[in-house]
Subunit: 340 residues, 3 copies
């Protein structure tokens, strides 16, 4: 299914093996020996493919799918077409992810530094690293084992990177410590000075930005996203946090662990975000706020006040989502009454 | 007019020739032999310059312009200053564009690979390509004829590019097929993995992103814009579509033909956009939506539901633009009443 | 305090010297000889550190701080803990900035061109410039004295740059004139063609973009921000203006002097912005507008009409901020009444 110029498939696996790797349960144990050769979307999967149903809106596609096997929640069992083997899971998308990773494991780095890469004499490059053409590694930089540095990426002086971390092409890093198993996408900018200057009657006076960026383990930072270093305190991205493309993180921001920052969201300086919070696309947070653990910021919202743990807010200025939609309904009602 | 360090002018042309090239009609055929040496804005154009009027708000500037000739809609004829030759067109901006392209044709690529470029031994580079300093072309990549690859750009392994396509400096491409006559601006990121992971009680599980990006012919992709590859299906940008700077396109998105995505707009994963749709600046679309052909999304709007063919929507959540402005008027009226 | 791998500290300075350099007044002249070795945030500063209080919300942290000295407004004097020396200033953040710059002066460029940099034979590089690895300087380009060009940055043909200007890694410039003491952050894109094409029944016709970008002295342009060149007129960024990360500036825009454009804000083509205007984060301006001097655009606002000098606007479409909040209050009140 996947284009073999770009991806190479492992396997095949039988369903018993896939059940074991995904934590799913075979609805019909007699299918345990059935062979699967690939993963595929419901609408194009064939008899040797594994697919998945995770979104109710695709239930009809599921019911008509030619997939030989499918990961699905138990509630959809009776919608399955005849002959489809079912791997039942309460978390079908997670189970599918694990299956797909069995078929398409990440290839290991090729332990070579391209001759055109420019690596400072006192930089330390861990075992098994792959350094792309034109990449630049600065003085005193430290890379752990099995890192990848993409073509034309720039790792600044004294930057430290853990093990198994990937830095995409054309990305640039400075004044930062990056953990292990971090993925930095192409064009991301990490560690440049924050937007710090004193505005006064006598003009702008720039404030030295003396902090760093600390990116903990297992973080992803999307393409062309920007994370400024702290002004004195550090800017911190907690372990496991997922940052999408074109996201802005200002100086001194602290993002908790396992947060999700969707594309084009932005966080102003010194704001603190609790573990597990989610910022949907194009949302923005003003500076010096505290966003609670597990808080959810709706897409395109602008947050101007603190948000409590677990709260969901929407609008600009953002308010609790129920309040937002009650206001919305009120306005629609009054407008219709006026129209009569 | 244009700075000759950056641009070189062709011509001169007489008005008969410009009428022919632009499809416009000379209001006074006796001007057919008048020579024009350049194009210029209304407020600085002189007797040997061609200018244009396209926006009613500049009609006074037109009436006072010293341009020797001007492309204009017939309705503005009688506002023209004495002595100005008029090229009449129902589409004056288009006619001006064609004239400007006569004076300033795109120079052809210089068929050279800079010696510092790193081109894989098995990459295939078409005739007449210009490969800039420090550019990196990966294994198995295919470039058509007369492509330009800017300095320090990175074209990943097995990427395929059509003819006459330009890839700007510092851009990076992977896992994609790019058509002919495509223009990719500096710093654009195409083909990195989409933002795909399963969120569950047991943390985040990354989902392999096994699709590609397909960019059809005649597309433009703005500076620092990001287009993620599909998760299984492809991400597709239809022929002729214009994408401005800092635009985000998520995985599995399908953008139709001749769409316009203005700067800082964003499209979440799996959304489908019909031919000819326009997303104004900073607008955003939620995931898994269907946006109709010719739909128009107002600037700074957030779309959370499907949009019908030809509809114009505004606000967040976006609604039909008339409904939006009726609600807006209602709120203003009620606020004023309260103020009394 | 600051990580000495990334920053090196000057000093120590006594308080008399710091008062002189910052324009602040020592509240107790007997402290004039007290030595200060560093700057630090209130919550971590020790007896040899200088800190500052600028935001009322941190007054309690100030009252409990162990800082040996602190820059503070006179009104907070009596909140100071015992033993803390006070540098009194009406502009404490500015005074702190000046002190921090005494401790952490910007190191001068190292006057070397890395051998992997590609510098056109007829480019002119001023005295004392530092050109990073893999940087590309085009034909006819002119750099003033003491400029820095970061690794893998690309300076296009005939670009002119003043003195003491910094161009970050992976940035790209073309068709532009850049002043002195300008700071261009990593990944910024300056001078690419604007988003200009005629939309007509016969498709899109691209319009040659024949202008330039003029960046005046003392401007900052943030990471991954994009500034398109003019279509005929120039795009101009006035002296002293501060542009944050991921900001979009369309063609023909004129930004005044000492403006502030916060992260992810955007300005559509041909809009003019008066001196001293502030665009907060994620705000956007439609095209062909006039924004007055000192105008303020609230975060996440969308401006569709001209804004008067000194006005503050909010919302989308943006309106005077008082009007916005009166409408907001009206809607909340009506919603609560309905709820009863």
């Amino acid at each position: 299914m996947a284009d073999n110029r770009f991806f190479s498939v492992s396997g095949p696996f039988d369903l018993a093996e896939l059940a074991r790797r995904t934590g799913a349960t075979l609805s019909d144990p007699s299918c345990a020996g059935r062979r699967v050769r690939d993963v595929a979307p419901l609408d194009s999967a064939g008899p040797e493919d594994l697919s998945f149903l995770d979104n109710r809106r695709y239930a009809d596609v599921f019911a008509a799918s030619g997939a030989g096997a499918c990961v699905v929640a138990p509630e959809f069992m009776d919608r399955a077409p005849a002959g489809m083997a079912l791997l039942l899971s309460d978390e079908p998308y997670r189970a599918y992810a694990l299956a797909a990773r069995a078929f398409y494991p990440e290839p290991p780095p090729v332990p070579i530094s391209h001759p055109s890469a420019v690596i400072a004499a006192n930089a330390v490059i861990g075992a098994g690293c792959e350094i792309g053409a034109g990449a630049v590694i600065g003085a005193g930089a430290l890379l752990g084992a099995r890192c990848r540095v993409g073509a034309n990426a720039v790792v600044g002086d004294f930057v430290t990177v853990g093990d198994d971390t990937t830095i995409g092409p054309n990305a640039s890093l400075s004044h930062c410590f990056i953990g292990s198993r971090v993925v930095i996408y192409p064009g991301a900018r990490i560690g440049q000075p924050g937007f710090g200057f004193a505005m006064s009657k006598r003009g702008f006076t720039k404030v030295p930005q003396l902090g760093r960026v600390i990116v903990e383990d297992d973080v992803e930072i999307g393409a062309n996203s920007t994370i400024d270093r702290g002004s004195g305190p550090d800017t911190v991205i907690g372990a496991g946090t997922m940052i999408d493309n074109l996201v802005q993180i200002g100086h001194n921001v602290r993002v908790g662990k396992y947060c999700v920052l969707v594309a084009q969201s932005g966080v102003s300086g010194s704001t603190q975000i609790g573990d597990g919070a989610v910022l949907a696309g194009q949302s923005g947070l003003a500076g010096h706020l505290t966003i609670g653990k597990g808080a959810r910021i709706a897409g395109h919202s602008g947050v101007m006040r603190d948000v409590a743990d677990g709260a969901t807010v929407m609008g600009c200025p953002a308010m609790p989502i129920k309040q937002f939609f009650r206001g919305y309904a009120t306005l629609q009602r009054l407008t219709e009454e006026k129209g009569k």
